[in-house]
C-alpha cells in the first residue's frame, strides 16, 4: 500500500517513524521481504561526504558608518566576490590567497566561520556619493554578520570515475596523487550510501527536498550544474557522473566537522561537505531502489595522464574498489577512496536520528528535476 508524505510526517511527529540508513535497509528487506518492508519502513537515509569544488557561501556583512560599496574584498587574504551589492559577497570554495602555496582558500574561510572563528575582512571600493567610504579593515564572525548561507551549485555527484596514471611520472590531480605506471587508482563516491544512487531517477528528490547539509538542515534548490541523464546505466544506476544537486543551507546551524576546507596538492582548494538526503518510502519500487549494493554500482577507470579524451579502460564495482586493490590486465592496482565512507555513514546515521526523534520532517518537492538532460561542451570559434 502506498504512503503519502503527510502520513510519513505524521508518524515522524509522533516519533513512530521507522527509519533505516541505506546500509541497514538491505538486511531489513532481506529478512522481511520487499512488500512487508515497504509497508513498515517510512524513511531511508542516505549520506555522502566528499570533495566538491562547486561550493561556496553567500554573506552579508552589514553596513559600516559611513558605509562602503565593497568591490575588492579579502577574507583572511582570500579574494571573494565583489560583483554583488555593497556589502554582499559570495565566497567561492576554490578561491586562493595570493600565495598559492599557503594551502588556504575560500573553503577554509567557510570552515573557519562555521567553527566560530573570527575572520579578517579587508575591503575597498570606489567611494561614491551614496557610499563615501573607500576602505575598511576589521574582523567578522558569524555572530557579527547578517545572512550566511552555504550555496553549492553542484553537490552529490550521482557517480564518478576512477582515476589512474599510465605515464612515467607522479601526477597531482583533483583525483589526488596518482603514482606512475598505474601504481594506484582513486575513486570518489559513497556508493550504496550515496543519495542519488539510492534514488537514481530522482523520483523523490526534487526542488524543495529537505536535507542534512554540513550538520544543519538545508534544501535542494535546483538541479546541480553539469546535471545530465545520458550516461549508460548498469543495474539501474549510471556508471559515471550524471545527476547532481544544487544545495542551500544556513551556515549557523552547521558543524565544521562536516564542512572541511581541502588543500589538494598540485590542484588547489576544494571543500568537503557532508550531505544527507532522506528518501520517503512511498511505495515498494522506491524501497527496491534503496537496496542497491556496492557490488551493483560500477564506475569506469580512466587515465588522468591524458589531457583529454579519457576513455574507459575497464569497469569496476565499488565492492571491488573498497577491497584496496583492483586488477587490470593481470596487474594489481592499489585503490584509494577520496571521499569519506565513514563520514557518509555518520551523516546518514545522524539524519536517521533526527527523523526518529521527530526533529526533521520531510518536504515534498515543489518541482521535479529534469527527466532528461545532456551536457554541452565549450567550443572555440575562430573568426
Amino acid at each position: 500500500m502506498a504512503k503519502t508524505y503527510e502520513e510519513i510526517n505524521e508518524r515522524i511527529r509522533s516519533r513512530k517513524a521507522v527509519v533505516y540508513t541505506a546500509e541497514e535497509i538491505m538486511e531489513v528487506v532481506k529478512k522481511k521481504g520487499i512488500e512487508k518492508a515497504a509497508e513498515e519502513v517510512d524513511v531511508v537515509t542516505t549520506g555522502t561526504f566528499g570533495a566538491m569544488c562547486s561550493s561556496g557561501a553567500f554573506l552579508n556583512f552589514g553596513h559600516a558608518t559611513p558605509p562602503i560599496r565593497m568591490t575588492d574584498i579579502l577574507l583572511n587574504d582570500v579574494p571573494v566576490d565583489g560583483g554583488l551589492a555593497a556589502v554582499d559577497t559570495y565566497v567561492g570554495a576554490t578561491s586562493l590567497t595570493k600565495d598559492p602555496k599557503g594551502g588556504y582558500g575560500g573553503a577554509h574561510v567557510i570552515e573557519d566561520l562555521i567553527a566560530g572563528k573570527s575572520v579578517h575582512l579587508h575591503a575597498s571600493g570606489p567611494g561614491t556619493d551614496c557610499y563615501v567610504r573607500k576602505e575598511i579593515d576589521t574582523y567578522i564572525s558569524l555572530d557579527d554578520i547578517n545572512e550566511a548561507y552555504l550555496y553549492n551549485p553542484r553537490n552529490c555527484y550521482q557517480n564518478y570515475g576512477i582515476a589512474t596514471n599510465t605515464s612515467g611520472r607522479t601526477i597531482y590531480t583533483y583525483m589526488g596523487k596518482l603514482l606512475p605506471r598505474m601504481k594506484n587508482a582513486t575513486y570518489s563516491s559513497a556508493g550504496q550510501l550515496s543519495p542519488l544512487l539510492n534514488d537514481p531517477h530522482c523520483d523523490t528528490i526534487g526542488i524543495g527536498t529537505h536535507i542534512f547539509l554540513g550538520g544543519g538542515e538545508g534544501y535542494v534548490s535546483w538541479q546541480g550544474t553539469q546535471f545530465k541523464t545520458t550516461p549508460e546505466e548498469v543495474n539501474g544506476v549510471p556508471v559515471g557522473g550524471a545527476r547532481t544537486l544544487a544545495l542551500i543551507g544556513d551556515m549557523r546551524q552547521m558543524d565544521a566537522k562536516y564542512v572541511r576546507g581541502l588543500d589538494i596538492t598540485g590542484y588547489g582548494i576544494s571543500m568537503a561537505v557532508g550531505v544527507g538526503v532522506p528518501i520517503p518510502i512511498l511505495n515498494k519500487d522506491i524501497l527496491q531502489r534503496c537496496c542497491i549494493t556496492d557490488e551493483q554500482i560500477y564506475a569506469e577507470l580512466t587515465d588522468y595522464s591524458l589531457p583529454s579524451g579519457r576513455s574507459c579502460m575497464q569497469r569496476y564495482n565499488y565492492a571491488e574498489l573498497r577491497t584496496g586493490s583492483i586488477e587490470y590486465e593481470g596487474r594489481k592496482i592499489r585503490t584509494s577512496s577520496l571521499s569519506s565512507y565513514s563520514g557518509a555513514r555518520k551523516v546518514a546515521g545522524e539524519l536517521k536520528s533526527w527523523v526518529e526523534n521527530g526533529e526533521f520532517e520531510l518536504v515534498k518537492p515543489i518541482r521535479a528535476l529534469p527527466r532528461e538532460a545532456k551536457l554541452k561542451s565549450l567550443t572555440e570559434e575562430w573568426m
Binding site: 570533495a51 596538492t265 565513514s342
Partner: protein, 136 residues
C-alpha cells in the same frame, strides 16, 4: 635479539663521499637500509637510514659513524597524524608502500600503524587537511 632502529644522518662536503652503509656492514655486520637520501648542490645533505642488528652492535656502529664526523639523530621515525584533522577520506592509503595506512573494513576509518612505517613521506602531500607530517 635483533632490532631495527632509524636515524637521520647529516653529511657535508667533507664526508659526503664516504659510505656510512659500508662502515656499518663491513665493520659491524649490521644491515643498513637507506630509506631516503638527499644531497644539496653544496655537498651537504641528509639521509634516513634504518639499521638492523643486535642493539649493542647498532649502538657501537652509530658511535663509529658519529666519530667519523657525521651528525646522527635517532628517529622515532614514522609519520605522525593529527587525528583531530583526519576526515578518513583514504587518499593516503594506496600511496603507502608498507600498508601502514589502512582502511578498517568494519568502520571504514583510516588507521595508521606506526610500527611498519618507514617514514618515506609519500602520504604527506596527499593529505588534503595537512594531518600527516614527517619531521626529519
Amino acid at each position: 635479539m635483533t632490532m631495527e632502529k632509524k636515524y637521520k644522518i647529516s653529511y657535508n662536503e667533507n664526508n659526503v663521499q664516504g659510505s656510512v652503509a659500508y662502515i656499518l656492514v663491513k665493520e659491524f655486520d649490521l644491515t643498513p637500509n637507506i630509506l631516503k637520501a638527499e644531497i644539496e648542490g653544496d655537498g651537504t645533505g641528509k639521509m634516513v637510514l634504518s639499521v638492523k642488528g643486535e642493539p649493542d652492535v647498532i649502538d657501537r656502529g652509530i658511535q663509529r659513524i658519529q666519530d667519523a664526523g657525521y651528525n646522527v639523530i635517532p628517529l622515532c621515525s614514522h609519520i605522525t597524524r593529527d587525528d583531530s584533522k583526519c576526515w578518513d577520506c583514504g587518499a593516503c592509503v594506496s600511496l603507502c608502500p608498507t600498508h601502514s595506512l589502512r582502511v578498517d573494513p568494519e568502520t571504514f576509518e583510516v588507521n595508521l600503524g606506526i610500527e611498519t612505517c618507514i617514514a618515506c613521506g609519500a602520504c604527506v602531500n596527499a593529505c588534503s587537511v595537512h594531518a600527516l607530517k614527517l619531521v626529519l
